[in-house]
């Protein structure tokens, strides 16, 4: 049975003057999923989001939300809410008035007691109870982020749009917020649509990831699909780390993930049954805790990286810069991908 997508793009194109921001995109966001749009800056991901929110109108094609064509429907009438990159909290209003803003726009206006209750619930949800009277400039970045979330979620939108919401936070806080966002999404059952340039963020949080490049959608799939079966070298390179070697035909490359490479002191000590094995020189070593990353050089393959897990270091050994070593991979680890 075909389930109606909560947001659908049909041949959506958006141009700004000569710039093609989004080119002929078709996208179906499933109800209840956590979908990320991933791509470098300028790939059209934010423009796509802004067309969903109603801040931009497509140059051609149509956006529909919950089966309704949104052409010409202004932002204030759309059943979606957005968390802005720099939060865009209203500086002249306190936390409670920021959070209740959406409810206060409704007619008839909800009663004060009802508003206070909703605000208290929303703040509890983002673990900011008791912050009602604070001003946005009195809050840390992470707290502002939570207020922005509460302000959007209190309206129970059909889709929550998140525009690089974690970009301004430091690494540790970002990790915490990622987990919190995931939990919120699961508990509320609201569709989340996140725009990010951070592949780690996209992979770790999303049910599905949509990779964009130069205004076009390159691939949509679960994080595992994108990682294991990238459709081309662009996706392989953008989603996780990858080594590319000269492919068998023109416009193809051989792609091997660094963690699927085996490293050992000599070819003889490498595990059995490898498809290929090479003698290399270690150029650099980066200790990453659970992994050690080696940059190695082979005389004809060139430079590439190998991730050696801490767990197997007792077998593979630890190498210093300048050491000779042997590297190999299983047949299943190598994929032939088209270049773009």
């Amino acid at each position: 049975m075909f389930e109606q997508p909560v947001i659908a793009f049909e041949n959506v194109t958006k141009t700004f003057g000569n710039v093609h921001a989004v080119v002929d995109n078709n996208l179906a966001v499933k109800a209840g999923e956590f979908l990320s749009i991933l791509g470098p800056s300028g790939c059209g991901k934010t423009t796509s989001l802004r067309m969903m929110a109603g801040f931009e109108q497509p140059s051609s094609g149509a956006v529909s939300i919950q089966g309704q064509n949104m052409t010409g429907v202004p932002a204030f009438l759309r059943p979606v809410n957005m968390v802005f990159q720099h939060y865009a909290l209203f500086p002249h209003l306190n936390v409670a008035d920021n959070v209740s803003y959406g409810l206060r726009q409704r007619r008839p206006k909800p009663a004060d007691a009802e508003l206070a209750k909703s605000v208290a619930d929303a703040l509890e949800m983002v673990r900011l109870s008791g912050y009602e009277k604070r001003r946005s400039y009195e809050l840390s970045g992470g707290q502002q982020q939570r207020v922005a979330l509460a302000r959007a979620l209190i309206n129970r939108p059909a889709v929550l749009l998140l525009d690089e919401p974690l970009a301004a936070l430091d690494r540790k806080l970002r990790r915490e917020m990622q987990i919190e966002l995931q939990n919120l999404q699961r508990n509320l059952g609201i569709t989340f649509l996140l725009v990010t340039h951070d592949q780690e963020e996209a992979l770790s949080m999303s049910d599905r990831v949509c990779v964009m490049r130069e205004g076009r959608i390159v691939q949509i799939g679960s994080p595992r699909e994108l990682y294991d079966k990238p459709i081309n070298s662009y996706v392989a390179g953008f989603v996780g780390k990858a080594n590319f070697f000269v492919g068998p035909k023109a416009d193809t490359v051989l792609c091997v993930r660094p963690e699927l490479l085996e490293i050992s002191a000599t070819r003889k000590t490498l595990p059995q049954g490898l498809a290929d094995a090479f003698d290399v020189t270690v150029l650099n070593r980066i200790f990453l805790g659970e992994h050690t990353e080696y940059l190695v050089r082979h005389e004809s393959l060139g430079d590439f990286t190998v991730l050696s897990p801490r767990k197997s270091e007792h077998a593979s050994g630890v190498f210093d810069i300048g050491d000779k070593a042997a590297v190999g991979w299983h047949k299943s680890a190598a994929q032939i991908l088209t270049t773009t």
Binding site: A53, G54, F55, P74, A75, F76, L77, V80, N81, M82, F84, H86, A88, L89, F90, P91, H92, Y101, G102, Q105, R106, R135, R151, A152, N155
Partner: protein
């Protein structure tokens, strides 16, 4: 250590010109005025040392000047805001950045010509050969504008618009457009967004502009002189008369001190009203 000392010296040096200016041109003259206001008029005019409250008790003799000023200055300020706000909004929001600066210069351009010249022009426009004669031509007879409070109001709005527009323009221009997107995203219609977001966040600009215009109007005497024709008499005109005509310096000083006190009290409550409501004192202090 040495650096801190160095920067303190530098701060003192940088503040010195302003400090000297304030002490010699503001604080000292005010003190002189205060002392004079308790004196008596010398027989040939001017000041004679004494200590009496008569000058202050005599203030109601210039009551008309006070009521005129206290009625017309706030009214004219409010009218100027009403005219300036849409202009500033148009410039900051609607006009493309290419033309913005040029248009802002046009707003301020009247300042390049003499104030007297501009008031003479308004005397022509509002005088019997100006607007009243055109009105008569379409059948509305016996309209008097010149030498009435209306002429003073028109002149004030015209004259002080260039002072009111820029501060409002600045506060509107630096308004983060994403706040309006956020407001729309949360279900607010454009007009509601204006009332709930744009207007409160531009109040510091309105406050700055009104303060400038209000203070200048309170002390103005040329505008009421020219367009009020001596009939719409401001405190400024009273002061000119007292100091230059009747040479009653102590009484003039008392009127001046009263004006200063009124100005302070009004400004204090005005700022509290406008800025206290939105808790933007820190913004307005810029």
């Amino acid at each position: 250590m040495n650096d801190a000392k160095h920067s303190r010296t530098l701060t003192a040096l940088l503040l010195a010109p302003a400090g000297v200016f304030f002490v010699f041109l503001l604080v000292l003259p005010l003190l002189v005025m205060l002392v004079y206001s308790f004196g008596v008029r010398a027989p040939e005019g001017g000041y004679q040392a004494a200590f009496t409250f008569d000058n202050y008790l005599n203030l109601p003799a210039r009551g008309k000047a006070f009521t005129n000023t206290l009625l017309l200055a706030p009214l004219a300020t409010a009218l100027t805001v009403l005219f300036a706000y849409p202009m500033a909004y148009f410039l900051a929001v609607k006009v493309s950045p290419r033309w913005r600066n040029a248009m802002l210069v046009l707003v301020v351009a009247p300042f390049w010509t003499s104030q007297l010249l501009r008031y003479y022009a308004w005397m022509m426009i509002l005088g019997s050969k100006g607007i009243p004669s055109w009105l008569e031509w379409i059948g509305i007879a016996d309209v008097r504008l010149l030498n009435t409070p209306y002429a003073v109001l028109i002149g004030a709005v015209y004259g002080f618009l260039p002072l009111m527009v820029p501060p409002i323009f600045v506060s509107l221009e630096k308004l983060d457009k994403r706040l309006l997107e956020a407001s729309a995203d949360l279900g607010s219609k454009p007009w509601q967004s204006f009332l709930q977001i744009t207007l409160p966040l531009s109040l510091p600009g309105v406050a700055t502009g009104s303060m400038l215009v209000f203070i200048l109007l309170m002390g103005d005497y040329i505008l009421p002189q020219f367009l009020g024709g001596g009939k719409v008499y401001f405190i400024g005109n009273a002061l000119v008369d007292l100091f230059l005509q009747s040479r009653n310096w102590p009484f003039g000083a008392a009127v001046s001190i009263a004006l200063v006190i009124i100005m302070f009290v009004t400004m204090y409550f005005y700022m509290r009203f406008v800025l206290g409501k939105t808790d933007q004192r820190r913004v307005a202090m810029v």
